[in-house]
Symmetry: C2
Subunit: 145 residues, 2 copies
DNA sequence: TGACAGATGCAACTGGGTTGCAATATAATT
DNA sequence: AATTATATTGCAACCCAGTTGCATCTGTCA
């Protein structure tokens, strides 16, 4: 069973409705190969035959995030992007300074996974670290041509 | 000579005017101990006796950024924050999930400074890395009380 | 098929940020 | 000190992602 059906089954099992909008947004996210913003999602949903109001999209993204099925990717350009929750592995992002395109990337070793360093940060800053985000900025292949 | 005067002198030397708004925004940034958003800056400027239009603040921040005197800090909550350009050392940020407060933090070793790993990312992703950003999310001291 | 609760559409709103243009203030010149 | 050139500022209107209240609709199951 593919990811899309796993998600639909899980939602149904949880007592949630499988509405047109919900199925379409999940399909769009499953087919995406990079995080998408709500405006993009609206267009993509329309392109597969399901036009929905933006309010619905924002509410659905919030819902799927709450279900732990979708992750929010904040790049800092004022647009919230969403991707299917990465399974198991933890990854980071490349952000193009020219076109704002976002790609996913895995990193060998990251401070965010180094218990000793996190511990040191928590002690010296009096801050409880629960998560981290690492982004590399630069130029994507297309913008370098 | 303190940082504030160094900046004013540098700007004057560059042929730029030392206006009320410019002096006030620089003072506010110099006195800040964490990155500030434009709305905060407007209030702080008013509190030291210099009320300015928001347009001026946005334009001035853009100007100071262009001069390399101020750095933009994007946390992803839809608010652009600014801090005095860190001198020499490179640092990262702690972001509170509750109150969105931002603190600066230095890290022993970060992937972003590991030439080997950056090189590997550039080759496998066909992406030219020019910069990176590392943020730790969690709870600040105040929000944990 | 009916009914209920969850989901949706709509319209109005919020707030950070931008833009064009006219008015003003800084700093060099006379 | 008055004059001038232009960098800087204020204003008003605008942009756009995201939010909210409420009436309406629809998926699901009895
Ligand atoms: Mn990591
Ligand atoms: Mn670093
Ligand atoms: Zn690009
Ligand atoms: Zn906090």
């Amino acid at each position: 069973m593919n990811r899309e059906n796993v998600i639909l089954t899980e939602l149904k099992g949880g007592g949630y409705r499988l509405t047109q909008a919900r199925k379409a947004i999940i399909q769009v996210l499953c087919e995406a190969r990079a995080p998408l913003g709500a405006p993009d999602i609206i267009v993509l949903m329309a392109s597969i035959g399901t036009s929905v109001n933006k309010t619905t999209v924002y509410r659905e993204l919030e819902f799927l995030k709450g279900q732990g099925l979708v992750a929010e990717v904040l790049v800092g350009d004022g647009l919230r992007r969403y991707e299917l929750m990465p399974e198991g592995h933890h990854h980071h992002h490349l952000v193009c300074n020219e076109c704002s395109a976002v790609e996913c990337v895995e990193v060998e070793s990251c401070v965010g996974e180094d218990v000793r360093q996190i511990d040191h940060i928590e002690k010296t800053s009096d801050f409880k670290v629960t998560d981290h985000s690492l982004k590399f900025f630069g130029l994507c292949a297309r913008c370098r041509l």
